[in-house]
């Protein structure tokens, strides 16, 4: 048991940034295809990060780098807890703390762009957090445990009874991945009223670390998608992984068909989705299981 957990932890630590970076590269290629461009090479995200690490170190305050470091550690920690088969609630709280530290880091820079970006990130957190919690509760209601280990060991696929929660989770992934229509706090394209919002004041190594931790984060957010399909058989594994990757590309598609919405819309939409799909689904689970 412990050996298995250690192996998956090491695999996560090594493979997640590779998979995350590759996904980011494929995303850029796919986006380019959708826009009738040739696009960058698939390995471009790695080149970008390597370049960031070579850049001059510069920060408005000393604390900023410290906060960012904590953010990175907590993001990786939440992924570790997840892949080691830990408690879902703990995973969610760790991730929330990580994001909180990123926001604090943005605030510490004292730049108006970063500050407004941080405010919007807080609003985005408030928008997606209920759905994240409902997802965890949904898993508990169905499997009777918050532990990822127990969910994986289950012999039934929980997708059908949790379909509403699944759709809600896909919805808030747009917020978590910061894609259009909800790339309010920072955008991957740098073209918005806030320059680069939350991450405006991060440069060089710090920015590189943030990029890498986003890759970690993306991989284990897609791991959540996988959980919906796990039923202990190889067949469940294959579907789960395929759907997880598909989900990522659906997000790219949504990114390419939407204008950026305002935070009011993001807030309303995600709470309505959380209440309608999440709560109803939880209620159904309560009645049936």
């Amino acid at each position: 048991m412990i050996v298995k957990a250690v192996i998956s932890i090491i695999a996560y630590l090594v493979l997640a940034p590779l998979v995350g970076g590759l996904l980011a590269g494929l995303e850029r290629k796919l986006s380019a295809k959708m826009q009738r461009r040739v696009g960058p090479p698939v390995l471009q995200p790695f080149y970008d990060v390597f370049k960031l690490f070579e850049k001059e170190k510069m920060a408005p305050t000393r604390f900023q780098d410290f906060y960012v470091l904590i953010f990175v550690v907590f993001v990786i920690a939440s992924g570790l807890l997840f892949f080691a088969g830990g408690d879902l609630l703990l995973v969610i709280f760790t991730l929330t703390i990580a994001t909180a530290f990123l926001i604090v880091a943005a605030y510490s820079s004292n730049s108006p762009y970063a500050e407004v970006g941080a405010e919007r990130e807080l609003l985005a957190m408030m928008a997606y957090e209920p759905m994240v919690l409902l997802t965890a509760i949904g898993f508990y209601m169905y499997h009777g445990s918050f532990n990822v280990r127990d969910i994986l060991a289950s012999d039934t696929m929980c997708l059908l009874p949790m379909l509403g929660i699944f759709v809600g989770w896909i919805f808030i992934l747009t917020l978590k991945f910061r894609k259009s229509p909800f790339d309010l706090s920072m955008s991957h394209h740098a073209h918005q009223e806030l320059v680069r919002g939350l991450t405006t004041e991060f440069v060089g190594r710090t920015m590189g670390l943030i990029e890498i931790s986003h890759w970690y984060e993306n991989v284990f957010l897609l791991g959540f998608v996988f959980l919906f399909f796990a039923n202990g058989t190889a067949w469940g594994w294959v579907i789960g992984i395929v759907v997880a990757i598909l989900t990522y590309f659906v997000e790219v598609f949504i990114d390419n068909t939407f204008a950026r919405m305002k935070w009011q819309f993001a807030f309303k939409a995600s709470w309505i989705i959380a209440i309608v799909l999440g709560m109803v689904n939880i209620f159904v689970l309560y009645l049936c299981y």
């Binding site: 986006s31 959708m34 826009q35 009738r36 461009r37 108006p112 762009y113 500050e115 407004v116 405010e119 259009s180 229509p181 790339d183 309010l184 955008s187 394209h189 740098a190 073209h191 918005q192 009223e193 806030l194 320059v195 390419n256 068909t257 939407f258 204008a259 950026r260 919405m261 305002k262 935070w263 819309f265």
Partner: protein
């Protein structure tokens, strides 16, 4: 009420292709006041015109702006022709009208792309610019330049465009209509775009008149202001020109005006190509400029004004250009007050600011 923050917007900002600075005074995310300041790219082109003779000057004045370069060249040339008292041959006037309208198509497509980028719709942006590339290729084929055409001169055109090339241009543009429609329908019909633009930054007809708005900004508020219909310029009178009008006065109306103008320009080009007469495109002009003359032009962004005063030699005593963006900045500042921070890019972009025009 939150504490007031000042967000510096520009002069270097991702939304803006050109440097203008706005101090956005914010309460939470609401703009209470916007203080514009310009002057970052003054190049002294008007002064430069005084030390270049009138043939060289056309190349200088074209470089006022990279988007409406043909319009600027034509405007300056028309004012100098007026001062000399000569009239360019009819075919030259037709060719100028065609190229000017082609310039409008390319300017509006570029602007649609920038607007899409302003509300974070990157794929729409790329598709707009992809279509615009076809128009640039037409320019390159017919004039030799993609951005700066250097084909207009005092007394006519430097090169004729053959009738075959004009026919091909018409075919290409008519074929482009379907593609442009596919893209512009997204601007008009997509709910996420509507959410960002309908009812945002309303400028009423009274305000537009009071603030002297020009061009598409005025026309989107229902002010029928278009030099192509009021002045006897080019051959617009023979093409049956009617200005495009919208009533709402919001960002969406300003977008719709420009979208309809793209199609209207293509129709004007087709009509002009159908009735263009054969004949010379160039004529001999006097070697000196005396007297003074004022010309008004309808640029893609609105009314531009050219004043030329000759020094009795090959040189000009004074060249004065007033550009549309200059006139639209008050309207922009007016709509900015009370807007959401997220709407600022839309409000700045819908006047289609051309700062290098404004500062010359």
């Amino acid at each position: 009420m939150g504490k007031r923050t000042i967000i510096p917007f520009g002069p270097q900002h991702p939304v803006l292709p050109e440097p203008i600075h706005l101090d956005l005074v914010l309460e939470d995310e609401t703009v209470v006041e916007a203080i514009p300041s310009i002057g970052y790219i003054h190049r002294g082109l008007e002064k430069l015109c005084e030390i270049k003779d009138f043939n060289q000057m056309v190349y200088v004045i074209e470089r006022i702006c990279g988007i409406c370069s043909f319009g600027h060249g034509w405007g300056a040339v028309a004012s100098m022709e007026g001062a000399m008292g000569v009239q360019a041959p009819e075919r030259a006037e037709y060719l100028r009208t065609i190229l000017h309208e082609l310039g409008r198509v390319h300017s509006h497509l570029l602007w649609l792309g920038l607007l899409a980028d302003g509300f974070g719709f990157e794929s729409l942006f790329n598709h707009c610019w992809r279509i615009r590339e076809t128009v640039l290729d037409l320019f390159e084929k017919n004039t030799g330049g993609r951005v700066i055409f250097s084909i207009c001169k005092v007394g006519g055109m430097r090169k004729d465009i053959s009738n075959e090339n004009l026919k091909e241009m018409k075919e290409v543009l008519e074929g482009l209509k379907a593609e442009i429609k596919e893209i512009t329908d997204v601007f008009i019909n997509d709910a996420s775009v509507q959410n960002r633009m309908v009812g945002v930054g309303v400028l009423t007809k009274e305000e537009a008149e009071e603030l002297c708005a020009v061009g598409p900004v005025a026309r989107a508020s229902g002010v029928p202001q278009d030099i192509r219909m009021t002045d006897n310029h080019g051959v617009y009178g023979k093409l049956g020109f009617e200005p495009v009008l919208e009533e709402a006065g919001d960002c969406m109306a300003r977008t719709v005006v420009r979208i309809r103008e793209v199609f209207q320009s293509i129709d004007l080009i087709s009509a002009a190509i159908d009735q263009i007469p054969d004949g010379p495109v160039d004529m001999k002009v006097p070697n000196k400029i005396e007297g003074e003359y004022i010309t008004r032009m309808e640029q893609p962004r609105g009314e531009a004004f050219y004043y030329a005063k000759g020094a009795g030699t090959k040189f000009l005593k004074r060249m004065r250009v007033r550009t549309p963006t200059n006139m639209n900045i008050p309207a922009m500042v007016k709509t900015l007050a009370g807007a959401d921070l997220a709407d600022v890019p839309m409000l700045v972009l819908t006047i289609d600011p051309c700062i290098s025009c404004t500062e010359r």
